[in-house]
């Protein structure tokens, strides 16, 4: 089949184009977040004092931090899924919430008595927090990579990392419903680490699973 015949074949009765990026990501994040919520409800459980916690500004600070990073990584992921779209300021959207939480952490540590600083950093759950966030990120991780496979990323390692970060941030957002920690130094360290685990996994998997 020569090139002219190939063109004729492709142009004969053009099929309706597959789902757009927006629709694929909406499906992936919807199902993935549902999966994460189920995992959290079954294996971890919602924190029993959630009704009291939602009255604390620190709780909402944590939620807003994870939500802003999730929105930023969604923006980056969508852009990296389509050929020839520049990232431009999208990466900056990721830096802002991290800088903000570190600023709050620095203020909290500066005001704390020297003996309390370790407690602010480690809380009660630093050992399990990153791993549990990584576990909750698994459903979104799989779903978002599926969404990307139907699109056309051209920078596969970066695209994989962005997909992983999107999964990690969504996982962290769900985890806030279980997690008892509220201190900014804790969130700025262990939450971030938990989000970076799937991001790293995505960077490793990207070149293999996203090829087209």
């Amino acid at each position: 089949m020569n090139t002219e015949q190939l063109i004729a074949m492709l142009a004969t009765q053009p099929e309706t184009a597959p789902d757009s990026a927006r629709r694929r990501f909406a499906i992936a994040i919807g199902l993935g977040a549902l999966g994460a919520a189920l995992l959290m409800a079954i294996f971890l459980g919602v924190r029993h004092d959630l009704a009291a916690a939602v009255r604390l500004p620190a709780f909402w600070g944590k939620v807003v931090f994870a939500a802003c990073l999730a929105a930023g990584s969604l923006l980056v992921t969508v852009r990296l899924s389509r050929p020839g779209v520049r990232l431009a300021w999208a990466l900056g959207a990721l830096a802002v919430p991290v800088a903000a939480v570190w600023l709050f952490a620095a203020i909290a540590l500066a005001h704390a008595a020297p003996g309390e600083r370790v407690e602010l950093m480690l809380g009660q759950t630093w050992r399990s927090c990153p791993l549990l966030i990584a576990m909750l990120s698994a459903p979104v991780f799989v779903a978002v990579l599926w969404a990307m496979q139907g699109l056309a990323p051209t920078r596969l390692r970066l695209a994989g990392a962005a997909a992983g970060l999107l999964a990690g941030t969504t996982g962290a957002l769900v985890y806030t419903l279980h997690c008892p920690e509220l201190a900014a130094p804790f969130v700025g360290t262990w939450y971030l680490l938990g989000m970076l685990i799937p991001a790293l996994a995505g960077a490793v998997a990207g070149p293999r699973v996203l090829r087209w």
Binding site: T3, M9, Q13, G84, W212
Partner: protein, 205 residues
């Protein structure tokens, strides 16, 4: 028949004469974009014209960059065309078509060079976005691999819908009746089959 690299070099030379290097690049973009947008809306003739124009630009772009591997140019033109078709839903009408096409051609070229393990064989810059619609070469040489033969290797659920709908031009309803498949299976078969064909082109190197 395989064209020797010498003849390829000659046709490359002729192609350069066809190309007008001082032609302003910007008047290509709106025309091609209009053809693509109409094609995506279902106008087969506009879509065919788009792919035809695009193939000349892809060939011009790739020939310059694969000057050391001229026999691979047409295969890569075909692979890029199939990629453009399979990923056409990732084009946003508000986006410059030049950037979209360049990113796809660049990706396919880098992927091809990586598979071959000859990344250094590339001649010319990979990042010159505007060049892709500025060069054109209308002289196809024969591809090394026959897409028709690869098509014959696909399983029936992919092959039959492509053969009946895309090659013989039967309607989806007719193809469904002929094969005993459901109409949606025919549509899915065309879509998945073309993706499977692209994967075969990639692996076959």
């Amino acid at each position: 028949m395989k064209v020797s690299s010498q003849t390829a070099a000659v046709s490359l030379h002729q192609a350069e004469r066809v190309t007008d290097p001082v032609a302003p690049t910007n008047n290509k973009e709106p025309r091609l974009r209009e053809l693509l947008v109409r094609g995506l809306a279902g106008e087969a003739a506009a879509y065919q014209a788009f792919l035809k124009e695009l193939s000349a630009h892809l060939r011009g772009f790739l020939r310059k960059r694969l000057a050391r591997l001229p026999d691979d140019v047409e295969d890569l033109v075909q692979e890029s065309l199939l990629a453009v078709h399979n990923q056409r839903h990732t084009y946003d009408a508000g986006q410059p078509l030049t950037a979209w096409v360049h990113a796809i051609a660049r990706y396919k070229l880098v992927d091809f060079l990586r598979r071959r393990g000859s990344r250094d064989a590339v001649t010319g810059s990979l990042d010159d976005v505007d060049e892709i619609l500025a060069v054109a070469s209308y002289e196809a040489i024969e591809a090394r691999r026959d897409i028709g033969r690869l098509l014959a290797e696909l399983p029936d659920r992919h092959r039959l819908p492509i053969v009946h709908v895309k090659l013989e031009g039967l309607s989806v309803v007719e193809a469904a009746r002929l094969t005993g498949m459901s109409e949606s299976a025919v549509k899915v078969g065309v879509h998945r089959g073309l993706k499977a064909l692209a994967a075969k082109l990639r692996e076959g190197r």
